[in-house]
Amino acid sequence: MQRRGIVSKLLLFLLIAATSVSLAADRQHVKELGQKFICVCGTCNQMLTTCNHFGCPSSGPMLAELAAQIDEGNSDESIVARFAEKYGLTVLSAPPAAGFNLTAWIMPFIALVLGALLVVYFVRQFRARWASVPVDVDVTKYQQKVEEELKKFIPED
């Protein structure tokens, strides 16, 4: 009898512990997924999870909706799709990486790569010009001397 009591208390304790863990996990999940959305009240333009403007008519209901969808066991992708369908693409905090909006993501890196290629081309072009000057043995000797002298005059910084 006493053992049964201990077991039932232990089960109750585990149930409470599991519930609190599950709630904590949900809260974290809501927070993480909420960062994919923007508050749609039209005035604050803040992330859904950081929207704190007083009396906001949108962020509270949206967060509740988000939590409800998580509780229903919907996948993140389907929740994102549902929000986008309901509120429009403006609800997404970053442009979807598809169609024309893909350019938002790739253009900065294309620019970076093109820029890097330009720098390399620029440096090589200079070096090619430098190398194309005919050099004989005597000139090399003097060139080395000039190099040594130059080192003394060009400041380090």
Binding site: N45, A94, A116, V119, R127, D157
Partner: protein, 678 residues
């Protein structure tokens, strides 16, 4: 007083126009007195706009609500310091303030340089005054701060009237940081007009050596420093005032200040290549033109409301005028640049990809890529809508994903660049300079990983920060040790004198160290956590090693606002460390009462505990409290201070070395030799 202000604006408009015409005509006719008259007119513009802004300040001080701008941005109970800051609290006043700073800069530049650069200065004056003319026209015709308050009658005819009280200043702007943040930001934005004007003058006069760069180097650094301070104070304001727990949200207006800062940073680095090696002349022109254009674009973004922003406090149809000015300024400058290309040839050649020159080029590339990413993300909603017809949002996740790797690579170059030799770096010197910092940084990285720092970007940021710090320390150590052995100074004296003898170089290293600290602060944000609870008196809320307890819930009533306020005790590992007072305020001025959050923060080097009063529960008995645990945030602000300190040091003129008399250094030649080594 409003009439005096209005008259001062009208006079400024005439005098500015005269200054441009007199300067250009004077040069064309080679008429010195006309040129001097143009210069005096530019100084006169400063006097006129100063008078106008002083009048506006007076009108705020006496709460003259017959003026629309005063009625819209202040109220009788507003404290006097906020009345002063109301000058730039709205559209009209902030543009007037912009214009005033421009005339102030112009006057200072004229006083400092008129005799030294007599050929260039009339053109410098013309360019500065042309910019000033644009702003003066805006003040006078488009956004006049001295317009009367009017009441529209039923037949739509305006009837002047004086309201009993004003609408008050936007509560978000009623913050100490907001008193100083806009002036700093504007000093930065406007300051870039000076090097731009010199660049244009240099191209017109074909004086395309490094004179214009040497002349404007300090002006550029001053503008850059003010912009940095402005950005930092803006972050600090957002952290204190917006109550969402962070300091940077990639808002379009924040981005607006970041863009000229990034290109200005690139310019500050690449001018060194021109000064030392006579290279990158075209590139430097492009950079300063873009920096100036981005400053104007930043003002356009802030003031036009073309992109939705939480910061766009004042919006009006000024966008079209700004766009027109940008197009005219950009096309004029680029036309001049193409025309002068033959005069902008490099004096030297790039010899190696592994050299100081090329590291500066990569640094420029990264800074420009970052600027482009910010620009692209900020403008993409407009671009996307134009291309697809549907609206989208580009928020923090986009900017973080794109910019964080770019920023980390920039940090890497911050460590590498200064240690590479000019012309070409040998394999031996690379090993000597980088092996030990790289090994120590990586070893620290491994240790950090096993200590739980497993967020990839945060981990990489910290490893890079360690690497850069070590390279900086190495530079100071190497220089100070050589100096100490050559001069007999103590090591500490040698560090100080080394810095003062080459302020630009060592000031620059200190600026880099400031960035290291900023990076550490940013990395800490990856580990932010928060908790929320409904709390009555005596209730507690725990987060990590801290516990908050509500001691008192009360209401505070002042003439300007009423607030719900909590008095809370903060315990760290059970020991009380602070009292915190988060508030929710309701400002009384205006028809719509405006609420704001006043957070309360406990700061330490390790972390911030950031407490927000979210509101009251339905029964009014409890407060909804949100608390953030923000690791390492203080280092962001310390980094900012170090960055400014480094810039101030870099602005100092180099001190000449006075070697102590040492018996073993007797001859002049020997002394010179020692000076060369230290």
């Amino acid at each position: 007083m409003a009439q005096i202000g209005q008259f001062a604006l009208a006079l400024a408009w005439v005098v500015t126009a005269y200054s441009i015409v007199a300067s250009l005509l004077g040069i064309h006719l080679k008429h010195d007195k006309l040129v001097a008259s143009g210069r005096n007119a530019a100084l006169g513009t400063f006097v006129c706009i100063t008078t106008a802004i002083a009048c506006l300040g007076y009108l705020f001080a006496v709460s003259d609500f017959s003026i629309k701008y005063i009625a819209a941005h202040s109220n009788r109970d507003l404290p006097i310091y906020f009345k002063v800051s109301s000058i730039w609290g709205g559209q009209e006043g902030s543009l007037l303030f912009w214009g005033w700073l421009l005339t102030l800069y112009s006057a200072l530049v004229i006083v400092q340089n008129w005799r030294k650069h007599s050929a260039m200065m009339p053109y410098v004056v013309a360019v500065l005054m042309a910019t000033s003319f644009f702003f003066t026209s805006m003040h006078l015709f488009i956004v006049n701060p001295f317009n009367q308050t009017v009441f529209l009658q039923s037949n739509a005819s305006p009837l002047p009237f004086v309201p009993s009280d004003g609408n008050g200043l936007n509560p978000l702007l009623q913050d100490a940081y907001m008193v100083i943040h806009p002036p700093m930001l504007y000093l930065g934005f406007v300051g870039f007009a000076v090097p731009f004007a010199f660049a244009i003058a240099a191209m017109i006069t074909k004086q395309l050596g490094d004179t214009w760069i040497r002349t404007t180097r300090r002006w550029t650094m001053v503008a850059w420093m003010f912009l940095s301070i402005g950005i930092m104070l803006g972050g600090k304001w957002a952290y204190h005032e917006l109550g969402w727990g962070g300091f940077w949200a990639w808002d379009p207006v924040e981005n607006a200040s970041m863009m000229p800062w990034l290109i200005g940073t690139a310019f500050l680095h690449s001018v060194m290549v021109q000064e030392k090696k006579g290279m990158l002349k075209v590139w430097n022109m492009v950079l300063i033109i873009l920096t100036f254009i981005m400053s104007i674009f930043g003002t356009l973004l802030t003031r036009s409301g073309m992109v939705q922003s939480v910061h766009a406090f004042a919006q009006s149809p000024v966008g079209g005028y700004f766009r027109a000015f940008i197009i005219v300024a950009l096309s004029g400058a680029l036309y001049l640049l193409f025309d002068r290309l033959p005069y902008l040839k490099s004096e030297n050649q790039m010899e190696s990809i592994v050299s100081r020159e090329s590291s500066f080029m990569f640094n420029n590339l990264i800074l420009l890529a970052a600027c482009f990413a910010v620009f692209w993300g900020t403008m993409f909603p407009i671009i996307s809508e134009a291309a697809t017809g549907s609206k989208i949002t580009v928020g923090p996740p986009f900017f973080n994903k794109v910019n964080v790797p770019i920023a980390i690579f920039l940090m890497f170059l911050t460590g590498v660049g200064p240690l590479l030799a000019w012309r070409r770096a040998s394999t031996n010197s690379l090993k000597r300079n980088f092996l030990s910092p790289a090994v120590i940084a990586l070893a620290s990285g491994v240790a950090l990983y096993f200590r739980g720092v497993q967020h990839f970007y945060a981990w990489l940021s910290i490893v890079m920060s360690i690497f850069v710090t070590l390279t900086i320390i190495r530079e100071f150590y190497k220089g100070a040790a050589a100096r100490s052995s050559g001069t007999g100074e103590t090591f500490l004296e040698a560090v100080v004198n080394l810095t003062l003898r080459n302020t630009r170089r060592y000031g620059g290293y200190i600026v880099h160290f400031g960035f290291v600290l900023l990076f550490i602060g940013w990395a800490g944000q990856a580990f932010t956590t928060d908790a929320e609870g409904e709390m009555g008196i005596g209730d507690t809320l725990s987060i990590r090693e801290y516990t908050l307890r509500v001691d008192k819930l009360g209401i505070e009533d002042t003439p300007n606002y009423a607030s719900d306020k909590a008095t809370m005790s903060l315990f760290e590992y059970g020991k009380k460390v602070a009292n915190l007072y988060p508030e929710k305020r309701l400002y009384k001025a205006g028809q719509e009462k405006q609420p704001t959050t006043e957070v309360s923060i406990y700061s330490s080097a390790k972390n911030d505990v950031y407490v927000v009063f979210q509101g009251g529960t339905g029964d009014g008995k409890k407060a909804i409290i949100q608390v953030f645990y923000n690791p390492l945030t203080m280092w962001v602000w310390i980094g900012g201070i170090v960055l400014v300190a480094g810039t101030l040091i870099a602005l100092l003129p180099n001190k000449k070395t006075i070697l102590r008399r040492r018996p073993e250094i007797e001859s002049k030649e020997e002394r010179k030799e020692v000076e060369k080594t230290v």
